[in-house]
């Protein structure tokens, strides 16, 4: 307690005093409080505090607020605050603060609910919603206040999401808590009311299921990347750089959110089909025979075959299959032209060629970024989508390209790639397709 800043200490003491004042009337003789109800609700509240994310706390508080007079409702939250889990010190102070905060919120909700004349059934819904909103807002405001004073978080960060963040819980929990209160008072008794609260207890565990789904997707990508790593370490590093370059391009094209993430996945997984190419071809540092080249050119289809069953990859799958297509239709595997090639594949093609040219390979040394960009520009239109090449240039101007140290200007070798049939050497680099 004494480790806290003075303002925080004052806030805690003030809140505790206010809560005590609010609860005091219940303790007077003849207040007419149903102590059995208080005890039962307090027990439920204590159980709710032990649940993950305290998901049941708000509905139980609201039920208490609808069932009890303000002073008694303020008492309900107190035992729960002292059995709940506290992760970080100072434990005692945190418990005290939590009890005061919950008591004040319950008191306020009960007070607001009692302001309106008691109405039966559906007609009580507006006052219940108002009470729920007040309760949720008060909890959020007090949370922010203690963070600002005790942890010196900036106010706009501490109160971010107010008041909209409180609106959804209030709208969902308010009516359900009102129903619980009606059932509690009704002929079916508290058992039915507790059943109403049951699904709320689960919502906390399931609320972060969205995060868990994303985690599963990330794990999937990590496992696939690890499989590539087992096959050939260079390919994995190349894939990760292409993922980064793809994101750079996609940002310039104005992609955001999930599409940007999908773009990254497309880049990271674009060469997963290399798993199906014999290792000695991947590591070969002599020229490739036409037959060997044909074997390597199978890798987009291998890759598509591998990830075909993974539903969430969606657009990335098209990029894996088509990242060696050319605008003029001379690419593989399907020889698509122009806009038949999926957008993701056109982005990955540029990123792939760029990294192929700017990284050291068994058969060629890395070229400096400007030279690689010049090559890309030269082949834009015939091989690459000019829009993507321009986007990459812009992105590199803004952010630079970290991972590859450009080669010395002195040993700048323009046509290092062997197996260059003719034409642009970017094409040649891609022709070997970042296979090593």
């Amino acid at each position: 307690m004494w480790a806290l800043p003075a303002t925080a200490r004052a806030l805690v003491v003030g809140a505790v005093l206010a809560a005590a004042l609010c609860a005091a009337p219940a303790l007077r003789a003849g207040s007419g409080v149903s102590w059995a109800t208080v005890a039962l609700l307090a027990a439920v509240c204590a159980a709710a505090e032990r649940l993950p994310r305290r998901s049941l706390a708000l509905p139980v508080l609201l039920t208490a607020a609808f069932l009890l007079p303000p002073a008694a409702a303020a008492l309900v939250a107190v035992p729960g605050a002292f059995v709940g889990r506290v992760e970080r010190p100072p434990v005692a102070t945190r418990r005290l603060w939590h009890a005061a905060q919950q008591s004040l919120a319950a008191w306020a909700a009960s007070y607001v609910f009692a302001v309106f004349p008691p109405l039966p059934g559906l007609h009580a819904l507006p006052s219940a919603l108002a009470a729920a909103l007040v309760c949720a807002l008060l909890v959020a405001v007090l949370d922010g206040a203690i963070q600002v004073t005790a942890e010196h978080r900036p106010p706009h960060e501490a109160w971010r999401g107010l008041p909209t963040g409180s609106l959804v819980p209030a709208l969902v929990h308010g009516p359900a808590a009102l129903l619980a209160a009606i059932l509690w008072r009704g002929t079916y008794g508290p058992a039915a009311a507790l059943l109403v609260l049951l699904p709320m207890a689960l919502s906390g565990r399931l609320l972060d299921s969205g995060r868990r789904e994303r985690a599963a997707q990330q794990a999937a990508v990590r496992a696939l990347v690890q499989a590539v790593d087992l096959k050939d370490r260079y390919t994995r590093a190349h894939c990760e750089r292409v993922g980064r370059a793809s994101v750079l391009i996609a940002r310039e094209l104005g992609m955001t959110g999930e599409r940007l993430e999908a773009m990254r996945l497309a880049g990271v997984l674009h060469d997963i089909g290399k798993i199906g190419v014999p290792t000695r071809l991947l590591r070969k540092d002599g020229p490739l025979t036409p037959e060997e080249r044909r074997v390597i050119e199978l890798h987009p289809e291998y890759g598509h075959e591998i990830v075909r069953g993974i539903a969430f990859l969606d657009e990335a799958r098209a990029a894996i299959l088509h990242h060696h297509e050319r605008l003029d239709g001379k690419g593989y595997p399907h020889g698509l032209t122009g806009h038949q090639i999926p957008e993701f594949a056109r982005v990955v093609a540029v990123a792939d060629a760029f990294d192929a040219m700017t990284s050291n390979r068994s058969y060629s040394r890395a070229r400096p970024v400007p030279v690689a960009l010049a090559e890309l520009h030269r082949c834009a239109g015939s091989h690459f989508d000019p829009r993507m090449v321009a986007a990459l240039t812009r992105a590199l101007d803004h952010r630079g390209w970290g991972p590859v140290a450009p080669a010395d200007a002195s040993d700048l070798v323009l046509s290092t790639s062997r197996n260059v049939p003719s034409g642009c050497s970017a094409e040649a680099a891609v022709g070997r397709g970042g296979e090593r």
Binding site: L122, L281, A311
Partner: protein, 558 residues
């Protein structure tokens, strides 16, 4: 090992680039790969193989399985089907003792793949064609099929009667029916509309849909006035709402039949006593009333689980106990809570009025959304595992179709040993993940590398976030059986059986002895001889039982 050279498919010995015929367009499907369904699980339709024609060998030289006719024991002769260029390459690769190039295209398409000639030369001691004795997805016995059809027929009859009756008598309290139908339909629609497309379809019915159906069956009053609907109307409304909510993504017939029968059961248990007033005498409208509803819920959930287990058993064979355990386990967790909360909708609407339906239904839908996401996360994991298994096949470390066969037979053996659904999933994932580590082995690697490959595979499995048990099973695949968890033992035995049964070029990894004899009987004998150290006797016997049940017995032994 050397004496097996003649049995090798040229695909494994000669680098495809050296063989003639590589001009075939990439992506030209030659054979169907093992079936992984859209969710990535084995058992669906076969996927079009990307193997280009001619990477394998001249088709006339191989039978429908990519196996060459007449297993020559001559070690030096190149297989007859090879072209000149390939012949040139053959002695060279043998001379340096190189293992066949890794990444060469897998040999045999799976048994039963398209293009097999049913009347072809029998192979193996029993004179049966080389088809896997276990039908991979379903066992599908005549009795099982009759049972499934019978259940569907009963449910269909109930549905037709209910709809007909309701159409004849009209819908009582249409606004209540409409509100309830909307909740059920919404629950179904939300459950099915998760992003991820068809591949991410859930395997279980929508909890809110089921809970809403049950609540309508147990509804006795609306806002203090008695509810007027009868049993047929309950069934008709629930059926119509379920179908409406599932529009575009029709549910399986089993699922619909269960929904109809369970709803009818609950309605028959509740509505007649309610209408005759028996419920007012006992349990009355007090605390026991909710208890009565809960016990009806438990009863119908139990009935539903019994029915589901019977259907599952009729389809997949195995024992009834584990199937029932699986179904009962599927009820617990969020699903059970949603059901219990759904039941309380009925008295809540009775006490407060129809507005309680959205007030309670909305949080339930939120909870269901979370449960759905968990399901989707599970699907992602399974799809990843299947993709990794495909990667090992595409890389040529495992003959195409082997993981598929091992999964099918491994699950059958697991069922024979009484494993639960989660344990069967572990067997499946172990079988699919176990060879991933071999991606790290160079093209020519001695079998002694198994332990390293096992550790690497376990590292990949860990990243795929499969259950810890599967990681351990993958990690210990190269240990003697006593050091392995059960899933690993089953997979090891079934895999060895598959390798012994059908010898091919890949086997010196799984079968370092290089024993020439093959066929189911010989394979089982070899497994039994290895029960001291490599294979657990219990698993081997379970495998023998499974095989004796579904393999066609040799005519001369009958």
């Amino acid at each position: 090992m050397t004496h097996r050279g003649g049995a090798r498919g040229p695909s494994a010995d000669v680098h495809p680039a050296d063989a003639e015929g590589t001009k075939a367009p990439p992506g030209h499907p030659v054979a169907s790969g093992p079936g992984f369904d859209d969710e990535g699980w084995p058992g669906g339709e076969p996927w079009p193989s990307p193997w280009p024609h001619g990477y394998r060998w001249a088709p006339d030289a191989a039978d429908g399985y990519g196996r060459r006719p007449g297993k020559a024991t001559d070690t030096t002769d190149a297989p007859a089907g090879l072209t000149e260029g390939a012949r040139g390459a053959w002695p060279e690769s043998r001379a340096v003792g190189a293992r066949p190039g890794r990444g060469n295209l897998p040999g045999a398409p799976p048994a039963g793949a398209a293009g097999r000639d049913p009347g072809e030369k029998a192979d193996g001691p029993w004179g049966r064609p080389r088809a896997w004795p276990v039908a991979p997805a379903e066992w599908d016995t005549p009795a099982g099929r009759r049972f499934v059809r019978g259940v569907h027929a009963v449910a269909g009859a109930v549905a037709v009667l209910a709809v007909g009756w309701t159409a004849w008598h009209g819908v009582a309290q249409p606004q209540v029916a409409l509100a309830w139908g909307a909740l059920i339909a919404l629950g179904e629609a939300v459950w099915r509309s998760h992003p991820g497309g068809k591949a991410a379809q859930p395997r279980r019915p929508a909890p809110v849909g089921a809970a809403g159906a049950l609540a309508y069956a147990l509804l006795g009053a609306v806002g203090g006035r008695a509810a007027a609907h009868d049993v047929p109307q309950v069934v008709a409304v629930v059926l119509a709402a379920t179908l409406a909510g599932a529009a575009g993504r029709p549910p399986a017939l089993d699922e619909l039949a269960r929904r109809v029968l369970t709803t009818a059961f609950a309605a028959v248990c509740f509505q007649p006593p309610h209408h005759t007033g028996a419920l007012d005498r006992w349990p009355g409208h007090g605390p026991y009333y909710v208890l009565y509803l809960l016990s009806l819920l438990a009863l119908s959930a139990l009935g539903d689980a019994l029915l589901a287990a019977a259907l599952a058993r009729a389809r997949t064979g195995g024992r009834y106990g584990p199937a029932l355990r699986t179904e009962l386990r599927a009820v617990e967790g969020p699903g059970a809570a949603i059901h219990a909360a759904g039941v309380v909708i009925a008295p809540a609407v009775g006490a407060a009025g129809l507005w309680a339906l959205p007030a309670l239904g909305l949080p339930l839908l939120f909870v269901q959304l979370g449960a759905r996401r968990q399901e989707a996360a599970r699907a992602v994991r399974h799809q990843t595992v299947a993709a990794l298994a495909r990667a090992t096949e595409i890389a040529g470390h495992v003959p195409a179709g082997r993981s598929h066969r091992v999964v099918a037979l491994g699950r059958a053996v697991g069922r024979e040993l009484g494993l639960s659904a989660a344990e069967l999933d572990a067997v499946e994932q172990t079988a699919l993940l176990r060879d991933v580590g071999r991606l790290a082995l160079p093209d020519a690697a001695p079998p002694a590398e198994r332990r390293r490959a096992a550790l690497l595979a376990a590292a990949v499995a860990r990243r795929a976030e499969v259950p810890a048990g599967v990681v351990v099973a993958v990690e210990r695949q190269a240990e003697p059986y006593r050091a392995q968890p059960l899933a690993a033992r089953i997979v090891a035995t079934v895999r060895a059986y598959d390798a012994y049964d059908e010898h091919d070029d890949y086997d010196d990894y799984d079968d370092p002895t290089g024993d020439e004899a093959r066929g189911p009987l010989r394979a089982l004998e070899r497994l039994r001889l290895a029960t001291a150290y490599d294979h657990e006797p219990r698993v081997v016997e379970a495998l023998a039982r499974v095989l004796s049940r579904c393999a066609p017995a040799p005519a001369d032994l009958r």
